[in-house]
């Protein structure tokens, strides 16, 4: 008779206790993993979106801060304009290394072109751009020519192998960017020249023409000179140019960060309560089990089992149950997160990107450790108490 044999016999002998302990371990492990995956997934997504934009400061029309965040992060339709003259005013600042305009055009709802219902069109200037251009060069692609576009990961060709019809105009999808888990995944990037060409031809070719306001841009992406302070530059722009708001990259998506922090606090609060309740319930279950098995354990002691053996047998039982429950809960959580990630993004209104396999494995191991720790913590006191009891008294009671 060894520890594992004794523990497994005890586990199979009491279905209710086994069920309760495994369920608590399942809850603790899966809740911890779910929270970590969701929060880290959203954080990774935000970081990737900021890196993709590549700007130190984004200048938008005053009052459009929330709109640009929703547009870039969740692909929510946004229309805001400012005069193109602002670009030259910004470029004249001595601390600005490069300033590139972007124009957010129209979100095609239910467009047949895309594998998503809302497609966001972002026009950029290839001469000054540092959002798409470095990526194209990195992937050995030429500068986009007239009629050529780059899509987010969800943009797929519908006409032939590479073509997409936009406002009756056939554009060629040159490449797809890597996923970020944000609205950028459902965005189409094209040059100003292509956009103006689409707009002029859409009058005859499209059911609804593409309207581009003359001499207008939606945002200016700024890269500050090395060694300069982006914060001071942002303050200078705010004070000098009226009607615009400079957003530093560290402050970009601030409303989503606040929403995430709020959600994290709520989840952590619920998780703490769940954890405390689970540990208390487990403690109660193990106390009842230990009390119920006093005579049995007394017999074991009288047959020569040491205190250490009794103590270890109870903790082995707890560990086996925690492992089974925790592993089941973690497997279910990973399955649910992977399968339902799009539904979760839509439900929570937060961007989300799955972690790498290594990072996921690490988080699963942490979740499993938490489940094992919680169950063993709850079993520790009853196990110590019962193992210290005199066998003669235990058998007589």
């Amino acid at each position: 008779m060894n520890l594992y044999w004794l523990a497994s016999k005890n586990i199979s002998g009491n279905a209710f206790r086994t069920g309760v302990v495994a369920l608590c371990a399942l809850l603790v492990g899966s809740f911890a993993l779910f929270t970590t995956l969701l929060m880290r997934g959203a954080e990774n997504s935000l970081r990737l979106a900021i890196n993709r934009l590549g700007a130190d400061i984004v200048v938008v029309p005053e009052g459009s801060e929330a709109k640009i965040e929703s547009a870039l992060l969740m692909g929510v339709p946004a229309r805001f304009w400012m005069s193109r003259d602002i670009l030259s005013q910004i470029a004249a600042f001595p601390d600005v290394e490069s300033a590139s305009p972007q124009l957010y055009l129209a979100t095609l709802t239910g467009a047949s072109c895309c594998s998503v219902s809302d497609m966001f069109i972002i026009d950029y200037d290839p001469q000054t751009d540092f959002t798409i251009q470095p990526w194209l060069e990195q992937n050995q692609l030429d500068m986009l020519r007239l009629g050529e576009v780059v899509g987010g990961t969800y943009i797929s060709a519908t006409d032939g192998k590479q073509n997409i019809t936009v406002y009756g105009y056939l554009v060629t999808l040159m490449a797809n960017l890597e996923p970020t888990g944000t609205g950028l995944d459902q965005s189409m990037f094209l040059t100003f020249d292509t956009a103006y060409d689409i707009a002029s031809k859409s009058v005859q070719q499209a059911e609804r023409p593409l309207e581009i306001p003359t001499d207008s841009i939606s945002a200016v992406m700024i890269k500050a000179k090395p060694g300069s302070d982006p914060h001071l530059l942002a303050v200078e722009i705010l004070q000098t140019i009226p009607g615009v708001t400079p957003i530093e990259s560290s402050n970009l998506f601030q409303s989503y960060r606040q929403q995430m922090t709020g959600l994290l606090k709520t989840i952590l609060f619920i998780m703490s309560i769940t954890w405390v309740l689970c540990v208390l319930l487990l403690g109660l279950v193990f106390s009842m089990a230990a009390n119920e098995r006093r005579k049995e354990l007394g017999v074991l002691r009288s047959l020569g089992a040491t205190r250490r053996f009794v103590f270890q047998s109870l903790l082995t039982e707890a560990t086996l149950l925690a492992f089974a429950g925790g592993a089941t809960g973690l497997a279910l959580t990973v399955l649910i997160i992977i399968l339902f990630r799009n539904a979760l993004v839509a439900l929570l209104g937060l961007p989300f990107l799955l972690p790498s396999a290594g990072s996921l494995l690490l988080q699963v191991l942490v979740g499993l450790f938490l489940a094992l720790f919680s169950v063993n913590l709850a079993a520790l006191l009853p196990a110590m108490k019962i193992s210290r009891q005199d066998p003669a008294i235990a058998m007589r009671e």
Binding site: C114, S115, V116, S117, D118, Y154, S156, L335, I336, L339, F340, N342, A343, A346
Partner: protein
Amino acid sequence: MKKLMGVLLVVLALVVGIVPLFTDCLSQGRALTTTDGKTVPMKCHWTAIAEIGAAIPLGLVGIFNITSKRKETFSTLSLLGMGLGALIIAFPTVLIGVCANPSMICNMIMKPTLIAAGTLAIAASLVVFVISVRMDRGQANIAQAAG
């Protein structure tokens, strides 16, 4: 344990049979319109219908797992359960498919639900299979010892 897995299979069969009917695009009023003006359901609807055909035998496998007392039937039932689980996953992914747009309800809810239910059906059947094999081995050992 086998009865518990049987109950789980019945619940999964209900999920597989009912959930797709309320989460396909047709249930949301979305259908394709042909050039002659006729409306045709999108392919996720046919997946939902096909899943009923897989849900009924899966439910029966679950019921037999609960009611059966003959040990020999468990391994056959579990193999059948695994096959049906694989079929449940194959309908929305390989055999028929769902709509292409990832933001449509069939892609966001129906397909993941069916994959999750199919995976769980395979896992539950695998548990029953392992138990039945171990029981058979146990009985063989007893018979060998007695003989």
